[in-house]
Each structure stands twice: as C-alpha cells, then as structure tokens.
Amino acid sequence: MIQSYRLGASIVHRMSAGPKLALFAVLALVSSAYPHDGWSVTVSLVVVCTLYLVAGLPVRVLIAEIWRLRWLVLVLGTALWIFVSPLTAWISTSRVASLLLLAALLTITTRMGDLLAVLHRMLRPLRRLGVDADAVAMTISLTLTMIPVVAGFAHAVREAQRARGVRPGLRTTVPLMVRTLRHADEVGDALAARGLV
C-alpha cells in the first residue's frame, strides 16, 4: 500500500508529517480497537473515503486505491462469509480496507523524505541502545525505491521469456534473482561512491 506522493495544497497535504502520522496512527488504532458493528464500520469506511476528498484527490485515485484491494477483499471477505457470517465478513473486510486506505492516503499526501525524517527523529532516542537511525531510514528509503525497480526487472524477464516462447513459471525467479542481486551490488557501489557507507 505504499503509494507515490501526489502534489497538492489541501489541508491534508499541508499538515506536517509528524502530526499527520500521529493523527493517522490514532485513527487507525481507534478503527482497529473499536468493537464495530455493521453501521459503525461503514461510517469508518466512509470517513476514510471522505478524507481522500478532503485531500483534494480526484475520485479516480480513491477508486484506484479501492481497486488495488480487490484480491484482499475477495479472499478475506469470501472466507469469512463462508466460514463465519456475512456480517463478520463485511465488518472485518471493511475494517482492514479502511486501515489500508488510510495508510495509502498518508503516503499519497506526504513526501517520503518527510516521513523518513519523522522516523529518523523517532528513532533518535534509540541510539543509546545501538540503533542507527540513519541506517534504518536509509534502508527503508532504499527498499521503497527498489520496489518499482525490481518490478521492472520481473516485467523484463517475463517479456524475454515470452519472446523466446518460454512459459512463465518458477524458472522466472532464477533470472529475476540474479538480476536483482546484481543490481544490489551496483547499488552498494553507488552508496559507496556517494560516501554513504
């Protein structure tokens, strides 16, 4: 659910990353811990969706985010529907969807650098325990950066296999891993070249 930042001037965008993260964390905690019934969970979901509109995001962004959850909703909802009850399926699925939509809204309206700066500040007191805040922030940032890169590798490997008439399967993972590990080596060199390690 890590989405790319979208430029905006809404109150949600303008809010500082620290207070926004705290507010969203409180909302998420309340939504998770509250003993929801069918109505309250619907209100919770509507509130989160409304926050997208408050953030000035086009409705298609909200729809795209909901669409991303389709498999989760389908699998979780169906399982609960069959094995527990339709109401439980609605409550649990909506609760999870609200949380994930909230998380996506945070990353859509906050620059990753600002979030990492907050994380860095939060980790600073842990330095006494040997936690390297710089390294943790850098690791998270690198992970986020590499997700689309590795996805691109997977796409390229699939295309290469298709071009040679090879069916996608488990064998896809070997060239993907080789390529990813080679890229990791190159990134290591880039970190060293920029004096970051």
Partner: protein, 230 residues
C-alpha cells in the same frame, strides 16, 4: 552549483588489479593532468576498473593510485567526497524514491533551507523541476541519467568520473549528457565507446586486455584504437 575549475593530477603507479586470480589491470602507470580525459578500449579491457580506482570503489592489489594528492587506499573517504562517480545505469545510482529526495540525499547534513534551495536550483538547471516529486522509476532514461549526474554535481566534486554515461541513451540525450560533461569546469574522466565524444576531450587513454596501451591526444589514441580494431 558548479565547482570552480580545479584540474589536479591523477597518478597511477604500477597499479595491478586481480579478481579471482584473473588480472583485470596489470602494471598501469600513468599521470593525467588534462581537464577532460577520455578512456577508450574494447569491452573487458579494464576501462571500468580504471575508473573505479579513481573513486576508491576498487583498490589496487599492487601499486598506488593518487588523485589530487589523495591516496586511494589511505584517504578513501576524502577521495569519495572529492571524486563524483556517474554509473552507466542511472537506475543503480538513484537511491531515493523521487528526484528531489535523491538530490537532497547528496546534501545530507546541510541546513534544510540550504538543501531546499540547492535542490530546486539543480532541478531547474537540469530541466527536472516538473519531475521533482514523481517516482524516479517513472523518469525517462535521459532524465534518469541527468538526475544521476545532478546528484553527483550538486556535491561540487573536483573530479567527475563517468563510466559509459551515454551508453543507454538515445542520440538526443546522449548529446545532452556529453555536452553537459564536457562543459563542466571541474576535471572529468569519461569512459566511453563513443569515439566522437572521446575526440572532444583534451586527452585520451587506451586500454587493451588490462594494459594501458596508449595515452596522448584523442586523435592519436583513437587512430591507434581504430588501427587495432582493423
């Protein structure tokens, strides 16, 4: 943003590099003082290893590398601050999710206001202002290479080493990156297969099978290379 003209001496003395028992570079000795230096040679000739020696990414197994009076083994950290390195594949060099954040990373430790103004300046200078906050993975190949170059230039290095910086680019972007590199006031070492680019440098060196084969004016060195390629 640009550094002042600062041409120093790059010196390799009896340098050898081995990997898994195989000689990558053997007994390379050269002193380079030109501002724009081209490094040419066939694939696997040792060009990239030579480039990596200049930034301390590769340390010599024998001999000594000195760049602007800094010994690559003894002063590695200082050397990396002074020598910026541009990789062939910019994707490897972009370490943060967006261009603005990647440029800011190069300036970490500086005051926030200074970072903001210098990042904005660098983005504007390289035509990336409107791409500042988009995912770096969405940039075109040319934009990625410009960002990679900008992330190096923003630190104002005295020497820039570029390892085949135009190989993955189309003609327009290749020219743009070449022009940018050649116009820099700082010293530049460019590893390249583009002989037109090499010809525009002040000095050239030719590698072959791990040995330094020729060094001199680009015209002479390119002629030597062409002659060897048949």
């Amino acid at each position: 943003m640009r550094s002042e003209t600062a041409v120093g001496s790059i010196s390799l003395d009896g340098v050898a590099v081995e990997r898994e028992g195989r000689a990558i570079l053997r007994d390379v000795s050269v002193e380079l003082t030109a501002q724009r230096i081209a490094v040419i040679g066939a694939n696997g000739s040792g060009k990239s290893t030579f480039a990596r020696l200049l930034n301390g990414l590769v340390l010599p197994d024998a001999g000594r590398v000195t760049v602007h009076d800094l010994d690559s083994r003894r002063d590695t950290k200082a050397l990396r601050r002074r020598v910026g390195f541009v990789f062939t594949d910019p994707q490897s060099q972009i370490l943060m999710p967006t261009p603005a954040e990647d440029l800011a990373l190069s300036l970490r430790g500086s005051p926030r206001t200074e970072i903001a103004s210098r990042v904005a300046g660098a983005l504007a200078e390289h035509g990336l202002t409107d791409r500042a906050d988009v995912p770096a993975s969405d940039l075109s190949g040319g934009q990625k290479q410009l960002l990679a170059l900008a992330s190096v230039l923003i630190t104002e290095p005295r020497l820039i080493v570029a390892d085949e910086p135009t190989t993955l680019l189309d003609l327009r972007n290749s020219r743009r990156v070449s022009d940018l590199l050649l116009a820099l006031p700082s010293q530049v070492v460019i590893v390249t297969h583009d002989l037109d680019l090499a010809a525009r440098c002040d000095h050239a060196v030719l590698f072959d099978a791990g040995s330094l084969l020729a060094a001199g004016t680009p015209d002479d060195v390119i002629a030597e290379y062409r002659g060897r390629c048949g």
